[in-house]
């Protein structure tokens, strides 16, 4: 109550009166101008050229795509292939499988890394009120080390991990599984750690006050506070991995991406349209499924 009182005072001070009089404050104008400058610079770096869209070649190419892309290819051989592990439909199933196994592995990696990357678990807060300086130093070291590992895993894009794993273990969907697992372990681990650091310190203190060991206090005080949020974000991340899995085939790491890249290279626009529609259907279905599951969790 009192906190909000303090805040409202801050926002109803002399500054507020000035806003009302002049419309935009000096600060808002500076922010707006600064934003425009940054956007212009970024557009220059990105070589933005709207006229390129209307050049003769571009129009011809886009026309060709629309003309040849319709109707989409629906031949049995293209869709079903010659064997079980062949054809566009199998590639869709494979994409889905890569995302499911990849996300599961990512969670398995992210849980321990997330725990060791949360300061409230390693060295800070109510669990460490009476800890020795040495124990806190060790905790801080572990925290920084595992945060660094997470940043690294996350900063290398999934498709680059895919290329590396294809090089290491050969072509195929398993390379895609590993690529998604490693990249998403970095993403999920950071999320888990941030959620754990945001748990209510008094709740953690109350559980720690029962004489629990630190690990027990983490399991029974901290973790149950965040499990619903974590489950929901993990599901959302799984939806993201489906989209990532759809392009892993570009580097030979399995899934429908192979069909996307091969049909583009061979200018088979009818087949490309089918593949794009299949990916679209997959993404829509998984989004729907994900939101259903999340509603059930909530």
């Amino acid at each position: 109550m009192s906190r909000f009182h303090g805040m409202s005072e801050k926002y109803s001070g002399p500054d507020a009166a000035q806003h009302a009089a002049t419309g935009l404050s000096k600060r808002q104008l500076t922010t707006l101008l600064g934003g425009c400058v940054i956007l212009a610079a970024a557009a220059w770096v990105a070589e933005v050229d709207p006229m390129a869209l209307f050049a003769a070649g571009a129009r011809e190419q886009m026309g060709a795509f629309v003309a040849e892309g319709f109707p989409p290819e629906t031949g049995g051989e293209y869709l079903l292939g010659r064997s079980l592990r062949d054809g566009l439909l199998w590639a869709i199933v494979e994409t889905l499988a890569i995302s499911v196994v990849g996300t599961t592995l990512a969670v398995a990696l992210a849980v321990p890394l997330g725990l060791t990357s949360a300061a409230t678990v390693t060295h800070r807060g109510p669990l460490y009120r009476n800890a020795s300086a040495g124990r806190i130093a060790v905790g801080r070291g572990l925290y920084h080390a595992s945060r660094t590992v997470l940043s690294f895993l996350r900063s290398v894009p999934g498709i680059v991990w895919g290329f590396l794993f294809v090089t290491a273990i050969g072509l195929g969907p398993f390379a895609g599984v590993l690529a998604l697992a490693v990249h998403n372990a970095g993403v999920l681990g950071k999320l888990y750690a941030d959620f754990l650091e945001d748990t209510d310190p008094m709740t953690n203190e109350a559980v720690a006050g029962s004489g629990a060991t630190r690990l027990q206090a983490v399991c029974h005080g901290m973790v149950p506070q965040v499990t619903p949020t974590i489950a929901s974000y993990t599901l959302y991340r799984w939806e993201c991995t489906i989209r990532s899995a759809a392009i892993l085939g570009f580097v030979g790491a399995g899934g429908v991406g192979y069909y996307l890249v091969i049909t583009i290279q061979r200018l088979q626009y009818g087949k490309l349209s089918t593949a794009i529609l299949a990916v679209f259907a997959l993404v829509v279905t998984s989004d729907w499924l994900g939101s259903q599951l999340r509603t059930r969790l909530g």
């Binding site: 009182h5 009476n130 008094m202 203190e205 006050g209």
Partner: protein, 273 residues
């Protein structure tokens, strides 16, 4: 009600007293508790009252060992017993909401279990009896398997008591047990706490002065980290109360700052540094 279950001998002769000896506690630059000396006797019922940010909750957390004083000592005084020395009943909001009342109460004494059992017990209890007894003591044994988030605020507060009672401590500390409750539940919660105790020293932080005067033997008035008065409940005068709450209101620091001294979770930077 409790005597039916407790292993403690009837008509307990002695217990623990609690002594604060020139205790000072700071959070960053803010002084939450300034040079407090208090001697609380075994079996007393003490209410600590005062304006927000007076350092009342900090005082309890110091007694519970959740915080260490910067200056001075907090010690217990009297014969020791089987349970732990002091237990702090945190507010109902500090329960783990998704878990059942039983599971929350079971976390109240993880330290007494073996390392491995401590992990399993709150989820798959092998010996729920002690927790069920404590839930019975606060009148909620029939709600044992209800997730805490489906309980009312008053019921949550009572579960928090039950969790604290798991420690079998000689000194029971209760942090604003009536916060966020409607007037009728406030009285009920204090009555339940009264009934569940059995001769322990009880120290409660209370916002409602009338409840404090009605239910407690001894009143400690705190403002701005200091003890302003410490008298038997019947001897508290209106002038003392007016001065106490005026002292808090006239302190120049901002409200947020003073709240921050009382509860770390309210400090603008929420993480521990």
């Amino acid at each position: 009600m409790r005597s039916k279950y407790t292993a403690r001998p009837e008509g307990k002769q002695s217990g623990q007293g609690l002594v604060f000896d020139s205790v000072t506690k700071r959070f960053g630059g803010k002084v939450a508790v300034r040079d407090v000396s208090l001697k609380l006797e075994a079996g007393e019922r003490v209410a600590v009252i005062g304006p927000s940010g007076a350092g009342k909750t900090t005082l309890l957390r110091l007694a519970a060992g959740a915080l260490q004083p910067d200056v001075g000592t907090v010690r217990f005084d009297g014969s020791s017993s089987t349970g732990s020395t002091a237990t702090l009943a945190y507010q109902g909001e500090t329960l783990v909401n998704r878990r059942t009342a039983l599971s929350n109460v079971l976390t109240g004494r993880l330290g007494a279990l073996s390392w491995l059992r401590g992990f399993i017990e709150p989820l798959l209890p092998q010996h729920p009896e002690p927790a069920l007894e404590r839930l019975d003591a606060v009148g909620l044994v029939d709600r044992a398997n209800v997730p805490v988030k489906s309980l009312s605020a008053g019921e949550r507060q009572r579960v928090a008591f039950a969790r604290a009672l798991m420690q079998d401590a000689e000194v029971v500390l209760a942090d604003e047990p009536t916060a966020n409750l409607d007037p009728s539940s406030r009285r009920n919660v204090i009555d339940v706490l009264d009934a569940a105790l059995d001769g322990e020293l009880l120290v409660t932080v209370l916002h409602e002065v009338d409840l404090a005067l009605e239910h407690f033997d001894r009143i400690v008035g705190m403002a701005d980290g200091r003890v302003r008065f410490d008298t038997p409940a019947r001897a508290v005068t209106d002038d003392q109360l007016d001065a106490l709450f005026a002292a808090g209101a006239s302190t120049p620091g901002t409200d947020a700052e003073r709240t921050g001294t009382e509860k770390e979770s309210d400090v603008p930077v929420p993480r521990y540094v």
